[in-house]
Chain length 231, copies 2
């Protein structure tokens, strides 16, 4: 079994509190989790309560913020989008890799990879950066799709809030491998133990009901399925 | 396309702000999302910052709290577990059902189901309820597994914090169906649009390296795979 807590910055709030084996350096692990995750959950304090909302995101490792930029977007009317730039927020992206079934309830676990990015987001006002951010969000879902789409309209841009979060304050936590049981439970030998692998499966692309019959599924849509973790 | 915002209680913080078609009643939708989700993300304010952490959970629709109980657990040393009972927390469980590829970036979306439960958690002190909660958390991952495991030891119970959250303040949000595009983009007819279905796949159970050779994969472990959404 491997449990890795990888704090990517020295600030207290992203240093995982227990099992801290290594400090820093693991930028690649962060980008791997963000590449594998379909959505993230953002935490924003709204009226004193932490609101946790699922959302898509985009990543620009060469973005203008320290250690690159994570982009979020939402309706300009969304409370999370309105309140976020005035506070520190948390973005967590998690990929489940397996169910870890031990001999005891206590040692049950999950194999997973989870990335946490914390910081005060910047509201993106520059039109070119807003467009790059929105394209990055589309391409996070289906790599290479944004270049096939028409330009964003002024009205669409006006209706969309875009936030940028530095990937500087970040940590990655992961677990892999089989169950770790107490010796007595292993000796007793009366319970099956092991791992059930989990991954995200993608099905055949289903054309929209209003799609003209002569438009074939393009390469970039086929590609998203081929690049899925497995299956 | 269907977008449903289903507030299950009349409090402002769980009433989804836009697209509120129906009030109340949809307890079944809440339990469906919680049944389908492998993990949740909990939001707890730690040192003034919303910390969003992935974790497993258990559900007891007949639990002692109003509208039933959602159980969480963690190390007694975890800051999230220590700080949570003195504040309102948010638990969000999300299931991704599809990638919605529209003709424009603006109309790209996800098909998903997301449940949000908000409230001040109760620290569970009663031993019988703590055991029921921990068994519910195991059975959420693999239904029917807890009865095959030995009893929790006193030491294990002492190391584990258990929190109970009423499912009263809750909301469910979901999207299903194909992309909804602007008429002009449909008429132009130059971009493929549709849905790529997404689901959680489970692989063959992999025995632990230290498992005795004569212990076969039990029925309840096979069952978790058969009951997976698809595939």
């Amino acid at each position: 079994m491997t449990v890795d807590d990888v704090p990517l910055s020295p600030t207290a709030r992203t240093v995982v509190m227990r099992g801290r084996h290594r400090a820093g350096l693991e930028r690649a692990a962060l980008l791997d989790v963000l590449r594998s995750a379909r959505i993230c959950h953002i935490g924003v304090i709204v009226d004193g309560v932490p609101r946790v909302v699922p959302t898509v995101f985009g990543v620009d490792p060469a973005g203008p913020d320290r250690e690159g930029t994570l982009y979020l977007h939402g309706s300009v009317a969304s409370r999370s989008m309105i309140d976020a730039p005035d506070q520190d927020i948390c973005v967590t992206a998690t990929v489940v890799d397996g169910l870890v079934l031990a001999r005891s309830a206590f040692h049950h676990s999950m194999n997973y990879r989870s990335a946490v990015v914390v910081g005060r987001p910047r509201r993106v006002e520059d039109t070119d950066e807003r467009i790059r951010a929105l394209d990055a969000i589309v391409d996070q879902v289906v790599p290479g799709r944004s270049i096939h789409l028409r330009s964003h309209t002024r009205k669409e841009l006006a209706a969309t809030a875009v936030l940028a979060l530095s990937m500087y304050e970040a940590s990655v936590k992961s677990r892999s491998g089989g169950p770790v049981d107490d010796d007595l439970d292993i000796e007793r030998g009366d319970v099956w133990a092991g791992v059930v692998p989990v991954w995200e499966a993608l099905g055949d692309a289903e054309p929209a009901a209003d799609l003209a019959g002569d438009i074939a599924v393009p390469e970039h849509v086929d590609g998203v399925r081929r690049n899925a973790t497995r299956g």
